[in-house]
Each structure stands twice: as structure tokens, then as C-alpha cells.
Symmetry: C2
Subunit: 209 residues, 2 copies
DNA sequence: TTTTAAGCGTAACTATTGTTACGGATGCAT
DNA sequence: ATGCATCCGTAACAATAGTTACGCTTAAAA
């Protein structure tokens, strides 16, 4: 695990902290689609992502959902951090977007490291900053943009985080993430195809550069 | 200032920290409507609110805006914190909702206090937690609810933070905060009046209990 | 008092999004 | 190959939200 850590976090943490982490943390591997965090769950450890991508979603009482953001290697979930340190239930859902590897850090160490390692403080605050900004961008999207723009930026974001121009999703999948209906997605995708921005296939969508 | 501090933050901070704050911080008073933070501004100090209420808004490139949340006494703006510690430009706008008093803490102390005071760490993390959750509630509103619901919850929130059942806003003001048009607001307000939930007057709205 | 500007109500219309319904295409299981 | 379920395209319609336009009311300014 020390190797995984060094590969992704050496530029962020002192070697001493890296050693501490590797002594106490647990490596966790998850398959694509696997659920990592459920709404209402209490969280006891925070994840450092070393491989793959995690999608983080908001859900309302009726089970409708909305994609908030993706996590990439070298990042952690500030929401989890927030729930851990304040001992509140999770208000988001997280699942593996692709096969992923995570380093799980028990929450007890957090406070200690905050005191002892400046790099840890920086990391934690940067995480909050990044996550806040991502959520704000989500706000921008749903508040200021129309569905066609939202759809296109969704496809592009997804392409980046999956590292491919082929989006392997059904229209229904997309509709869930954007909180709209399948018919609307199909309609707007068709428009994008006519504008030569994407190509539609069964079960996947190709983004044209 | 020590008095103001003790009144609002004694239950949060050790007396030693209170003393430190009062030695270095500056008391700032703002009038209703005064702008505290502009988009793009670099921030050098973080505010502790001791009196009044601050409204925090998001703005897009075209100048459209959307209300994110209010700050109350005993709270700080995690966005500001975030921008301070990571030295990024502000991506939000803040203005006084009512006449307010703030204690401005220069950012240099932040890191030091994080190391030395557990109560400061708790305060900072609680602030992040609260602000994240407020933004998420805003996401819920715009993603999952229709304009009539949003309008009503806007009125109720505003009533709470202004501590009165009389909302002194024009329909246009409300339209800006919700990022919709004046006509839509007037239309929906009229509906609410017919349902006996509010009473409409010129320049203000009364919420019926 | 008269004038002016801001605030509000309403109608008529458009645009966007959501819903229902149905049929064809595709791929998988038997 | 046949049957079956999922996926997708499309039409028709409904609901919601945004736009334009205009006139009345009210408060403040001249």
C-alpha cells in the first residue's frame, strides 16, 4: 500500500505522514457500480482515492437523484470528512464510477494529524475548497443552464472521468443523473447528433472531437 | 469587542482563544444592503458574525444571481475560509441582509489556532459542515422543487433570518434571488394569497401563520 | 397639486420541460 | 430460430416557466 500511496500522494504529504498512513489505513477495492456510501449512514473512515473514479450523488425523499461530482485519484470526499468529524449521517450517496482503489483512514487520526502535519491541514482544506466549488458548479448548471447545455457538459465531464470518448450509458442512466426523464434525454441527444457533436449507438454514445 | 465575542462565542471557544481573538481582530459594522464580498476578490480575513444576518449569493457570467444561504450570529462563512486558506478568488457575493456587526480575523492566525485550539478546529469543521449542507439544500430546492415551492420556502427562510413575518421586498427583488422573472413571482404570490398563506401589500408581504 | 417613476396585476403568447403512449430495433436466453 | 426484455425514436399532449405588453395604483419628487 505504501507504494500506492507514494504514487499518488507523495507530492502532497511528508514521508513521515505517508508512513503513518500506511501503518493504520486499509486498502479497499471496489468494482464499478458498487455502493460506497448510503444516505443516512454514519461514517467511520475517510477515503483517499488512489485509482478509479467515484461518483457522488444527492437524493431527495422520493428517491430522485442528482449527480453532484466525481472524485479522482489523489482526492478525498469532503462530505465524508465533514460527516466524520461532526458525527452526522451522510446526506449523499457514493458509488464507484469505474473499478477503484481506496485507502481508508480511520477518523481517529484526523485530529491528531491536523495538529502535527501542515501538509495534512493543507490537504484537508484544499479538499473542502474543491468540493465546495464543485457543488457550486453544479448549482450553476441547474440554476442557470438549460437541459441541452447541462446534458452536453454532463457527457463531457463523464468522458473525462472515464478517460474515453465513448459513454457507456443508457439514456435512462443519464436521465437519473440529471434528474429528468428518458424521453427528454433522447430528444436532446438526437439534437446533439444532428449538430454533429455526438454519435448515438445502442447502449453508448460517442463524443466527436 | 470582548463583550460581543463572549456573548456569541463563549460557548464555542476557550477563554484564552477569546482573548487572542479580541486582541487581533477588528470589529466591523455594516448597514443593510452593504456589499461585503465581491466576486473575484481576494480575501484576507474571515468574519465572525456577532449581530445581524448576511446573505450569500452565487452569480453567473451574465450577472444572473441566486441566493445560496444566510449567515447568522455565531457563524462564519466557510466559503471565505476556503478562499482565504487556499488563496483563491471569491466565487460568491455577500451582502448585509440587515444591519450587522462582524469580527474580522486576519487569516494568518488561522493555521496557528488550528494547531493550538481544539475548539477552533471544531468550529472550523462545523462551519464547513453547515455550509456544505446549506448549499446542498439549495441544490435540492432548485433541482427537485417547482417555483411555487421554492418561493414559499424562500419567504419562510427570509422571515426567519429577518425575524419578522413581514417581508420587505419587491417582487423584483425576490425574482433576482430565485433567478426567475418578476411576472412569475407576482403570479405565484397571487396564488399563495388565494390559498391564504400570505397577504400582499405594496413593497412588502405578510406571512400568515 | 401635478408629475413622475416604481411596483404590481393580468392577459396573451412562447419556450422549455415533463408525460404518456406506442412501435421498431437489438441483443440475450431458451 | 423463437421469444422476451431492454433500449431507443417519435408523436401528441400537458404543465410549468419565461416573455412581452399594457394599464392601474401608489408613493415620492417637483
Amino acid at each position: 500500500m505504501l507504494k500506492e500511496l507514494e504514487l499518488n500522494y507523495a507530492h502532497l504529504f511528508e514521508s513521515e505522514l505517508l508512513k503513518e498512513i500506511s501503518q493504520i489505513a486499509i486498502l479497499k477495492e471496489v468494482k464499478e457500480g458498487e455502493e460506497l456510501i448510503r444516505i443516512g449512514q454514519y461514517l467511520k473512515s475517510m477515503p483517499l482515492l488512489v485509482e478509479g473514479a467515484i461518483k457522488v450523488l444527492r437524493e431527495d425523499e422520493e428517491g430522485f437523484e442528482l449527480l453532484l461530482y466525481y472524485l479522482e485519484r489523489g482526492e478525498t470526499c469532503a462530505m465524508t470528512l465533514s460527516c466524520c468529524t461532526t458525527n452526522h449521517k451522510s446526506k449523499i450517496r457514493a458509488e464507484a464510477e469505474t473499478d477503484s482503489k481506496l485507502i481508508m483512514i480511520p477518523i481517529e487520526k484526523m485530529d491528531e494529524w491536523l495538529v502535527n502535519y501542515k501538509s495534512w491541514r493543507n490537504f484537508v482544506f484544499n479538499s473542502y475548497h474543491e468540493r465546495l466549488n464543485e457543488v457550486l458548479e453544479t448549482v450553476d448548471n441547474i440554476a442557470f443552464k438549460k437541459m441541452d447545455e447541462r446534458l452536453l457538459s454532463y457527457l463531457k465531464r463523464k468522458a473525462i472521468h472515464n478517460n474515453t470518448n465513448i459513454i457507456s450509458s443508457t439514456h435512462q442512466d443519464i436521465a437519473y443523473d440529471l434528474h429528468t426523464s428518458r424521453v427528454v434525454v433522447s430528444r436532446l441527444l438526437k439534437q446533439l447528433e444532428k449538430q454533429n457533436i455526438i454519435k448515438l449507438k445502442r447502449n453508448h454514445i460517442e463524443i466527436i472531437e
